[in-house]
């Protein structure tokens, strides 16, 4: 069996000209330049691996460009895309059966990584293996909060996934309306309504109310929300909760970043959490009434239809909104701040390797992971005509063509949010939900109790009290 030494890899890194002559194309050349020798990439040639992923834009782009990976490695990748809920079921049952029907797993940090991290390979095994291609620019190139939140569990030693996508909730608004009515709003409200670092949730509420009072003919309501009794409601509320200084568990940012097996007692009855619930209830009363039946897609569609002027929404919707009739009329900003901070819920995911897979397939899977999360592939995703997510690597944002794409007109619409995102991902602005094994059950309690509050069945205080009791029972506190 061919042995690859560090020297081979260094040789490979210097072998740009040779690889170019081999006719593998610019992508292959760029990858090989930054990673390893051609032999290292061919070590699992002929292997077929299965990749299970949520049906997200990055995977759509990867699927459209798989030929370049196959050409580079000789590995065939079959991609199965589905909704996250179905994916979690399949992965859990795969682990339960002790099989590896899927070799590469889109491992949601909360629904897959936290409960099933023991079923994933510690990627340090490959990172420290001289025979494997190096991760281009090292794992340090990944945005640090995302590397920890998507890839680690409990400690900073093991690494289970490489950050793959990074949807994050931001403030998306009708810039055209904010500009048109700027002076009138400023006069009526007594503050500059333009979304900025200093805008508060209370001001967001006042702006929403101003639009809902019929001051702008273009929209009926000021704000729309993803407040269906579903995961989306927890996401929407969490932005406010964190901004007000509340959290689900003590030491919340740490529980969100690295995760834990024992989060302790739920903190939803703290005064900041109560205040957040009271505000959220007040905000939803002036929101578009459809909010309680919309998830993230529903609220984005309604925004696109011109139903309201602004919304907290996942930034990756920028791509579809910028290709609608609202093109050029939309603005992006970090979410408003509360008494504590501006918090932008992060919903990213990494990709990892099934520990039940054979050694050969694990090698092939590692090559795929390195390729799929490389700067070149992420750039390719940004340019892809079929979509593509937002890079998880810092170096991609530093590329001149990506920087240039952050202002309109652009052929990378997701990059219009780049400045906002780089702010939102800072430690003090990112919002991280608890990374615990029981998250699905806790999540269900949160959105169910909130739904009862929005339906008027419970007061904010009763809601938080009831949620705490149930969550404490689930986590055994």
């Amino acid at each position: 069996m061919t042995q690859f030494k560090r020297r081979d890899i260094l040789k490979g890194m210097g072998g740009l000209a040779g690889l170019s002559l081999m006719g593998a194309g610019p992508l292959r050349t760029a990858l090989a330049q930054g990673m390893a020798s051609d032999e290292a990439w061919k070590q699992a040639s002929g292997t077929t691996i299965q990749f299970i992923s949520e049906n997200t834009p990055p995977t759509t782009a990867i699927a459209a460009n798989l030929a370049s990976f196959q050409e580079l490695t000789g590995i065939t990748v079959n991609i199965t895309e589905m909704q996250l809920g179905a994916l979690v079921q399949k992965v859990a049952l795969d682990f339960g059966a002790g099989r590896s029907a899927f070799d590469v797993i889109y491992a949601d940090p909360y629904q897959v990584l936290a409960p099933y991290h023991r079923g994933l390979v510690d990627l340090n095994t490959f990172i420290n293996d001289d025979q494997q291609p190096v991760v281009p620019k090292g794992i340090e190139d990944f945005i640090p909060t995302q590397l920890a939140a998507a890839g680690r569990f409990k400690d900073r030693e093991s690494l289970y996934t490489l950050p793959y996508d990074c949807p994050t909730m931001i403030w998306i608004y009708r810039r055209d309306l904010f500009e048109k009515y700027h002076d009138q709003m400023q006069q009526d409200l007594g503050f500059d309504p333009t979304p900025s670092d200093s805008t508060t949730w209370e001001q967001y509420y006042q702006i929403a109310e101003w639009f809902s009072n019929g001051n702008a003919s273009e929209v009926q309501y000021g704000t729309g929300h993803q407040a269906q009794q579903y995961d989306s409601l927890m996401c929407d509320f969490s932005n406010v909760l964190f901004a007000y200084g509340g959290d689900y568990f003590a030491n919340g940012q740490q529980v969100g970043l690295l995760g834990t097996d024992s989060p302790g007692a739920c903190q939803l009855t703290s005064e900041p959490a109560m205040e957040a619930a009271r505000f959220y209830q007040k905000l939803l009363k002036v929101a578009h009434p459809g909010s309680t039946s919309w998830d993230w897609t529903g609220v984005a569609n309604a925004f696109q239809n011109g139903e309201f002027a602004m919304m907290p929404e996942w930034h990756e919707f920028a791509g579809s909104l910028e290709s609608s009739q609202l093109q050029g009329k939309i603005g992006y900003a970090p979410l408003p701040k509360g008494p504590a901070r501006s918090a932008n819920l992060w919903g990213g995911t990494g990709i990892g390797i099934n520990a039940n897979a054979s050694a050969e397939k694990q090698k092939a899977a590692w090559l795929f992971l390195v390729w799929a999360t490389s700067p070149q592939t992420q750039l390719m995703g940004l340019k892809s005509e079929v979509g593509g997510g937002t890079p998880t690597r810092q170096s991609v944002y530093a590329m001149p063509e990506v920087k240039a794409a952050s202002t309109p007109p652009t052929d990378m619409p997701n990059m219009l949010t780049a400045d906002t995102m780089l702010t939102a991902w800072q430690d003090e602005h990112i919002g991280l939900r608890p990374k615990i094994a029981q998250w699905n059950e806790v999540d269900t309690v949160i959105f169910t109790e909130l739904s009862k509050m929005l339906a008027g069945q419970m007061s904010p205080e009763e809601t938080m009290q009831s949620a705490k009791q149930r969550i404490d029972r689930i986590v055994g506190a």
Binding site: G96, G98, R118, Q229, S293, N440, E441, T448, A455
Partner: protein, 280 residues
Amino acid sequence: MMSPALFLLALITLVPFFSIIWMSFNDVSLMGGLAFEFSGLDNWQRVFTDPDIRSSWLISLVYFLATVGLEMVIGTVMALLVYSLTRGSNIIISLLLIPMFIAPVIVGLLGRFMLDPSHGLYAWLLNETGLFDGNILGSVGSAMVAVILMDVWEWTPLVALIVLAGLASVPEDTLEAAEMDGAKYGQKLLYIILPSISNILLVALLIRAMDAIRFFAIIFITTNGGPADSTKIIPIRLYDIAFRFFDLGYAAAVGITMLVFSIMVATAFTKLLKRQETSS
């Protein structure tokens, strides 16, 4: 000659059945391969003390009575109307049957689309006519009515079809004799037609009742059990426990209670059917 087939059938039916019973007395873990840890009656105790399960059973009961009741009444009326047609009944039947050929998931998606407060046709119509100006799928009460009506829309034609088949067996000579005696339509319906099709009505009721107990797709697509758990019928709750929380031992216990309820309903209807046959 049939024993290999019977054996196979028993194998694929009984093995999962007994596995689920065993599962309900265990805590089941998926990590590192399927593992059972005996927990005695813990899961069963939870089934009978969990307020969420109790609430879901109550919602299921309301849903069950409303859907099956409406489908039986409307389906029977539809069948009688079609039966009374002298021309064009084949075309009418074909048109009436269309909803039941649509997959429930598609019905759910259609419902969600038509009732969306920003662009839904039905939402707009209700709003314009002043009948309802709220968020249909996002409000407690209206969401339940909406999912009941979606189910009724889809499955009433099945009841109509079954009843229509039964109407063919109503004795023509008895009807003619009644007419000659001056009986009105209501009298004929009450004393001749309905007694003649009572068995077939019970069969329709049994089929729809069995379906209604395990109803899932439309609610899953439209409301996911919300708002405020107002449409969280027991199959949706079971789905959460089994495939979102992966609490498979508890899910097995909940699933078995559903099975027992189904058997009880089926037994009741079968006994009623037998009593009808004996009396006639």
